[in-house]
Structure formats: C-alpha cells, structure tokens
C-alpha cells in the first residue's frame, strides 16, 4: 500500500478507474450486440437458403420451359423432315439441326453460366429462323400459338 498520494496521482487514479469502467461498458455493449448477432446470423443463414430457393425455382422454371419448348419443337420437326425428301427439306434440316446443337451445348440449369444471356439470345434467334424462314410457318401459325411464341421470343 502506497503512502499519501499527491494531487497529481489522485487525478491519474480517478482517470484510470473511469477508463476501466468505460472499457467494461463498451465490452458489455459489444457482448450484447454480439449475442444478438450470433442468433440472427444462424436464423438468416437458413432463411437465405429458403428464400433464395423460391426465387431460383421460378427463374429456373422459366428458362427450362422455354428451352424445353425449343428443344421439343426442333426434335419433332427433325423427325417430320426426315420423312420428306425434297432439297428444301435438307436445307431446313440443316437449320433445325443447328438449333438442336445450340440447345445441346447450353447449360440451361446453371444460373452462373457466364454466357447465359449471350447464348440464350443466339438460341432465340436461331429458333426464329427455324420458324419464320425455314419452315415458312409464321403466317400459318394458329393465333394463340403465334401469340405465345411471340411473347416468348419478345417480338411483335
């Protein structure tokens, strides 16, 4: 135990005590915040998966629907054209097969594919070509189908 303190020493001690209290308060403050954070973080992690999945499913389904439609259309037409023998048919066949090839290489279920939009545009363009030019269909398409295709392709 020290002897009598001088005025300067008293002031230092008082300041040290205040500093300790201040530190304790800040620590308590951070501790409470931290406990809340921990709980929130766990909750948020599982919420994120569920929410993300909802959004993902809707978007994935849209793409799957569109790509599936093009694919079904192209494969069916490939079969229909096989039964034809004209020269025009072989030219049409080439375009249909080009579409099938594009679709084959497209990772439709991968949202992180870096060329997603680029490839999708190319596929849509090729599909339009198949419909409009090769198969001379456009004018013959039934109203509702035409409207649906137009909506899908984003034109008209």
């Amino acid at each position: 135990m020290k002897g009598m303190r001088g005025p300067g020493e008293s002031r230092d001690t008082a300041m040290a005590v205040e500093q300790d209290i201040f530190d304790a308060v800040v620590m308590a403050d951070e501790r409470f915040h931290g406990e809340g954070y921990q709980e929130g973080y766990e909750e948020g992690s599982s919420l994120g998966i569920v929410e993300g999945k909802q959004y993902g499913m809707v978007h994935g389904a849209k793409i799957g629907s569109e790509i599936g439609c093009y694919r079904g259309f192209a494969l069916a037409w490939k079969c229909l054209l096989h039964s034809g023998t004209g020269e025009k048919d072989s030219r049409k066949m080439k375009v249909v097969e080009a579409l099938i090839a594009l679709l084959q290489d497209f990772p439709y279920d991968d949202p992180t594919y870096e060329k997603l939009h680029e490839d999708l545009d190319r596929i849509r363009g090729k599909f339009r070509q198949v419909c409009v030019f090769s198969l001379c269909l456009w004018g013959m398409l039934e109203g509702a189908l035409k409207a649906r295709l137009a909506r899908t392709l984003g034109f008209m």
Binding site: G36, G48, G56, A61, G68, C69
Partner: protein, 217 residues
C-alpha cells in the same frame, strides 16, 4: 452520463436507502441501461440476420434454379412437340378438329406446368430429395382423379406430406392441380396428355419416333 456510474452493478430496489437522494436517479439509470442493452441485442440480431441471409441467398438461388429448370423442362419438351404437330397440321391443311384438339392439349400442358411450379415453390422448408422424387413419381402414376379423391383440394398448397397417400404412390398429387371452381372438369394429368398425344400422332400418320424424346417423362 448518470447510467455510466450505475453500470458496474445493478442494485435491487430494496437496497435503496430512503435517504439516498440518488435512488430515483439510479433506478432510472438501470432501466435506461437495460433498455439500451436490449436494443443492442436487437440491433445485433438484425445485423446478423442480414449477414446470414446475404451469405446463403445466392446458394439457395442456384439450388432452386437447377431444380426448377430440371423439373419444368419436361413440360417444355411436350409443349414444343405439340407446337410442332400443330404447325405441321397447319402446313398440311388438316381439319380444324385436329387443330383444336392439339390446342387443347397445349393448354392442358400449360396448366399442368403451372400446377407443378406452384407446388414446387410452395414448399417452405428445405425440401428433401424424397419430396422431389415423389413429385416426379406422381407425374407418372396419376390418371384422372375419381371424385372420392377430391377431398384434398383445400390442402392444395401446404403440406408435402399430404401427398404421400397410404399406398405409397402419391396419387393424391393431381388433386392439387385442380382449380377448385372447375371441379367438374376433367383435370389434365400428364399421362393423359401423353396418351392423347400418342393417339394424335397415329391419327396424323407421322412417324411415332417423334415422341421418342418424351420417353423420359
């Protein structure tokens, strides 16, 4: 700064000396302190929630995207095939009866597709692989639902467990597809649509190979 002095200890009201002039002040300070700390916990919770979500949202999205695409692509295939048959009919001037039959089938596929997607996205908890296998299994087995299976309509978008009927083969699934206001109409089921498509192909006299890519359905 009165709360500052009160920080190291929380005195109970019984300890207060009736002559202690700071009694009220320190009680107030305690409450202020507790309130402040409660707020800090709540702020921490919110911050943690946002951080946790941000971390896993993208991962969930990628998972859901793949599942949605893989399930729905089959309906797209069917629609595309029917669209091709429709355009074939137009090109060859086939009767309007066949054309309207195909249009109806196209609408039926659309309805089925919407129904499946609704069911997929209504799952609010982490879906198990078995749930998705059930969905796909259900698609293979369900025919037109007899009226005694119509009871499940009200559960249309809730519990996936309700889809596992006692015989284990989930024929209760299609009732979820039925719009309640059209209960008297035949509900389009995938096997029915495939059956109709198959007979259509025969009627049109086109090679039956045209349905080869639909075999996976």
């Amino acid at each position: 700064m009165s709360w500052f002095r009160a920080a190291p200890e929380i005195a109970s009201p019984g300890d207060q000396d009736v002559f202690d002039e700071e009694a009220d002040e320190s009680l107030l300070a305690q409450r202020e302190w507790q309130g402040h700390m409660r707020k800090r916990v709540q702020e921490g919770y919110r911050d943690g929630l946002d951080a946790g979500k941000a971390l896993t949202l993208q991962r969930g999205f990628n998972q859901g995207y793949k599942e949605g695409a893989d399930v729905i692509i089959n309906y797209g295939l069917l629609r595309g095939t029917l669209s091709a048959l429709l355009s074939w009919c137009h090109l060859h001037g086939n009767g309007s009866a066949l054309i309207s039959k195909i249009s109806n089938l196209l609408d039926a596929v659309g309805q089925c597709e919407e129904c499946v997607l609704r069911r997929l996205t209504s799952v609010t908890s982490q879906p198990r692989v078995t749930d998705l296998l059930d969905i796909i299994e259900d698609m293979d087995l369900c025919h037109v639902v007899p009226s005694d299976q119509a009871k499940g309509d009200s559960n249309a978008e809730t519990n996936t467990d309700s889809d596992r009927s006692p015989n284990g083969m989930g024929c209760s699934h299609p009732e979820h597809c039925r719009p309640q206001e059209h209960a008297h109409l035949e509900k389009p089921s995938l096997p029915w649509i495939l059956e109709q498509t198959s007979s259509l192909v025969q009627q049109l006299g086109v090679p039956v190979d045209i349905l080869q890519h639909l075999r996976q359905l």
